[in-house]
Subunit: 599 residues, 2 copies
């Protein structure tokens, strides 16, 4: 009988002896390997944090004491010890737990996580909130050396050193972000100097896999006065040899054979990913344009920049988890004639909103933002969707915002970005590309020109990026029902092709816009603005994400629930047609007009 199966909550753990918890740690590690093999997910970080997780729940009185994890990649073990062990095999599925931390999921998740570097700020807030009550409850944050490259963690440490709060931090130092960690602090290894300079007490370093030493060190941390950091050295992937040997590749994994360590080669079965198409396009463009340099914020693999860096090591930068710096750094590069491409997921670029406005757009510098994982991203859930980017970008003066409908268009939009010499953002989704033929040369497109992909007279369907494929499919289905739908690929959110939309809208009498993005302030909203002077002639129905956060699950589920899948588009188009007044209308609607008559 495994000890682990008797642990339904950390109370159960705390009743065990120190010898027994060593067994629990071993069993937990085995459990995580089995979960990873069966369900996939974030893997290597959790293995590295097994002893730490056990020690923290053993020493601290969770959930009375507040345990705040950073990011959440390493928290599967925490979930297993806090009543969610069985559910782990459904992790990230719509019927299972989140892949990250969520307050709504468990009282043991003292603070949600997903983006890196937030834990120290949150824990400091909690520590301050508890202080006036003379409360004895303790607060501990766990942050990796990767998360600590995020500027906000510095801000939090610096503030903690100023306040002198009873904040406890475990600095989980495994030398890795997702990829090997970067930064001067990693290079010097001078963690003690760093934390002490900011006014925190430094404890350690301790071997994060020596459970006995770790429990003692965590006890010392618990009993410290004022802000204190325990430096724990761990190995990502610890205890599973393939992951330990290549923790970068094993950061996250699809289900695998736990004995052999064999994994299905990613994407080998289906079409290549958008990420891979982006990497190809970038390599083609960079080969002919030496001004192109590339920046990733600690995601060389996820963004496809690793391949670029292998080919052009002098032209690729990994800033660490430092999106703010990455963007202003790019702006600096651009002032000297380079054409930097910031490859940052849509959700993480949120961190650099101010820098996009203040350092890039205001100065009209030719920086390109390549926003991978735009739209809903499926299993990673609400912290990771890229569904706000159109809204947070389209009001920025001087910025061009584009979205390609396929990988060939992506390469042309990227070429446009690099050659136009203006601030430029291009968003593309997670998942496989459409598999279209690729033109031999990426070439600049006319900026702001939409494309009429299909003629039609009853209703005009307007897609953007990934939704173009859906509206094309919807148009096919509508045709089978005798409805003639025009299809427009908007291509550019900004500048928007108001002329073409007006023309097609007039011809059809109505528009339906479809976006993989929030409805508020999104693409359809931009269409409403552009066509507002024609609103009485061209009713616009907008499909997109409603005003709530989208839970984790499959992308297909998320599209269906949001009503942006093909069936929903077909329904919306039919509804829109039904809503049209008959002719001649009592509420006036213009007759169909010849193309371009009054544009």
């Amino acid at each position: 009988m495994r000890l682990l199966s008797k642990i339904d909550c950390p109370e159960d753990l705390r009743r065990l002896s120190r010898r027994e918890i060593a067994r629990v740690a071993a069993e937990l590690r085995q459990e995580l390997i089995e979960v990873g093999a069966a369900a996939g997910g974030h893997f290597a970080a959790g293995l590295g944090a097994v002893e730490l997780t056990v020690a923290l729940h053993y020493v601290f009185d969770t959930p009375r004491d507040r345990l705040v994890w950073d990011v959440g990649h390493q928290a599967y073990g925490h979930k297993a010890l806090t009543g969610r062990r069985r559910e782990l095999r459904r992790i990230k599925r719509s019927d299972g737990p989140s892949g990250f931390l969520r307050r709504a999921e468990s009282p043991y998740d003292a603070f949600g996580a997903g983006h890196a570097g937030t834990s120290v700020s949150a824990a400091l807030g909690i520590a301050e909130a508890l202080r006036p009550n003379g409360d004895r409850r303790k607060v501990v944050a766990v942050i990796g050396d990767g998360g600590a490259t995020a500027g906000m963690s510095f801000e939090a440490f610096n503030h903690a050193g100023h306040l002198g709060s009873d904040l406890r931090v475990v600095f989980n130092d495994n030398g890795m972000s997702i990829a090997p960690n970067v930064g001067g602090l990693t290079r010097t290894g001078a963690a003690r100097s760093y934390f002490e300079a900011l006014g925190l007490r430094y404890l350690g370093p301790v071997d994060g896999h020596d459970l006995g030493a770790l429990v003692e060190a965590v006890e010392a941390l618990r009993d410290a006065q004022g802000p204190a950091v325990l430096h724990a050295r761990t190995r990502k992937g610890c205890g599973y040899p393939p992951a330990e040997a290549d923790p970068y590749r094993w950061h996250a994994t699809p289900p695998f054979d736990s004995v052999s360590g064999e994994r299905p080669a990613a994407d080998s079965a289906g079409a290549p990913s958008w990420t891979s198409a982006f990497a190809d396009a970038l390599l083609r463009i960079a080969a002919r344009d030496p001004r192109v340099v590339v920046i990733t914020a600690a995601m060389p693999d996820g963004t496809g920049i690793d391949r670029f860096a292998a080919r052009h090591p002098q032209r690729a930068y990994d800033t660490g988890i430092a999106e703010q710096h990455a963007v202003t750094f790019a702006a600096g590069l651009a002032t000297e004639g380079l054409r930097p491409v910031c490859a940052i997921y849509s959700t993480f670029l949120q961190r650099a909103f101010d820098q996009i406005v203040h350092d890039v757009a205001l100065q009209e510098l030719p920086v390109t933002f390549a926003m991978d994982r735009a739209g809903v991203v499926g299993p990673d859930g609400p912290t990771h969707h890229g569904v706000l980017d159109i809204a947070y970008l389209r009001m920025i003066p001087n910025l061009i915002v584009a979205a390609p409908r396929d990988e060939n268009e992506l390469q042309h939009q990227l070429a446009t970005a690099v050659e136009c010499g203006r601030p430029f953002a291009v968003r593309f989704p997670r998942g496989p590309v459409r598999g279209v033929p690729i033109d031999p040369d990426p070439k600049p497109l006319p900026i702001g020109r939409a494309e009429l992909l299909r003629e039609g007279g009853d209703v005009a369907l307007v897609g953007l990026g990934k939704t173009v494929a859906s509206v094309e499919e919807a148009a096919e289905r509508l045709a089978r029902r005798g409805i003639s739908a025009a299809v427009v690929d908007a291509r550019w959110v900004k500048p928007l092709d108001a002329e073409l939309l007006a023309e097609v809208g007039r011809r059809c009498g109505c528009l339906v816009t479809v976006e993989d993005h929030a409805l508020h302030a999104g693409f359809g909203s931009a269409v409403l603005e552009a066509l507002a002077p024609l609103a009485s002639e061209i009713p616009v129905r907008r499909l997109g994400l409603p005003d709530r956060f989208v839970e984790h699950g499959s992308i297909e589920e998320q599209w269906r629930k949001a009503g942006i899948d093909v069936a929903s588009i077909v329904d919306a188009a039919e509804l829109q047609l039904d809503a049209q007044p008959p002719c001649p209308p009592s509420r006036w609607r213009p007759p169909l007009r010849a193309r371009g008559a009054d544009a």
Copy 2:
């Protein structure tokens, strides 16, 4: 004859002897005092940087060598030495230079500034761009100890230490942000440990007012290999006794008597400021609700939090220039039952966009964002306008967004924010309040309920926040011309009162929205979305800021140029009336683009 008058560019300075440049420094200080006395503006930081400015331009070969200032408060002396001495007396006026750094203004402004903490990132980008050419040009950033509390500066230092670039930084340490600086690093004074831990070479400290020593130290910095920081200790306000004695108060100043140091008491002549009304309201609410705590990011004076902190020192936090941390710290406070109010200017809250989404809204935590300086702010110009906030907030699920039309409404909206227990943002402008009577008790309002302020049947004018006063005035003028305009105070951007707007819009046949915010994705855009199903019945004309950055000048000029002043509203209402079809027309079609308004 002053030496200073012979210096039209730094070349002229570099022809002088070391003895002569000491004279230049003395004259420059006198010049800055005279400029401050005559024109006002940012003052004390520039006085503290006089010797530094002279030494940098003396030692470095500007503009070939790139000099990157942080923020810009301290750069008036730099402007004086780089051909803009005479223009300084018109600083921040529409016919004069910017109060900050601008690439478009001078080749000596290697990188624009306004928000703190950007200089090291930009300079690192420049250093990397110059490196492959074997370029001998040098790059130096100047950052204050205040700016260095911004997380992005840490990100940049950490990246510089990793890259080993030839980046030079002057750490201008005067112990001040605008207010006295905060942070563990300030408390420990361990600048050497901090920079060395991040992999930078540390030089200094040097007395930043000893020009001889400073020139030598800057020469050593110039000749350093790899990333290096020169620590210069300066005194804010140095050389002008009143400013030196109270550098906080003299951070910025209206014109003053340079001999006596007497300044007109701020705002004493006119109505109190919105900031002051906010501070009053907050004190009233906090007096009865012990859950209220307040957070400022290094702007206790600018946000009015200093008065709160004096009354409730245990309930007020200054995080330093650390908006990201401030927001997540607030979220942490909120998890334990507190009701934090983040008082951050609209423009600076841009830094924390991701944290608002990820840490506050997603977790539905009761954090209030009190966004002062919303709308155009006049003389501080494009880096400081708060004209994007509606757009970057209104697509965030769970967030309430409000704007009060007067100071009484402000206190009620704040009370609503604190009591409703939900994420809440309230925006209010720079400048004097309207001077309305204040109800004795701030009381919660019905969320999402707009207010019909004036009945009318011809056109409905919809204002929000500060523009409500303008639409009221416009309605008066229209009445004198025989046009009956209804006036609606929208009050809530989100949730928007679509019902009232539809009702009034139907009655009048059209709506005109007026916002002190970007047109793209802004308030009027939200109205279009809400009324899209009624678009054929209720044409909406939107007034707001066109899609370009708004230059510095007076707020009145900015409103007039944007077409949101009273006269423009009157014109727009009349145009809208002219454009209405008399009855369902057969051929009528509105222009594709509204004249001027939506362009």
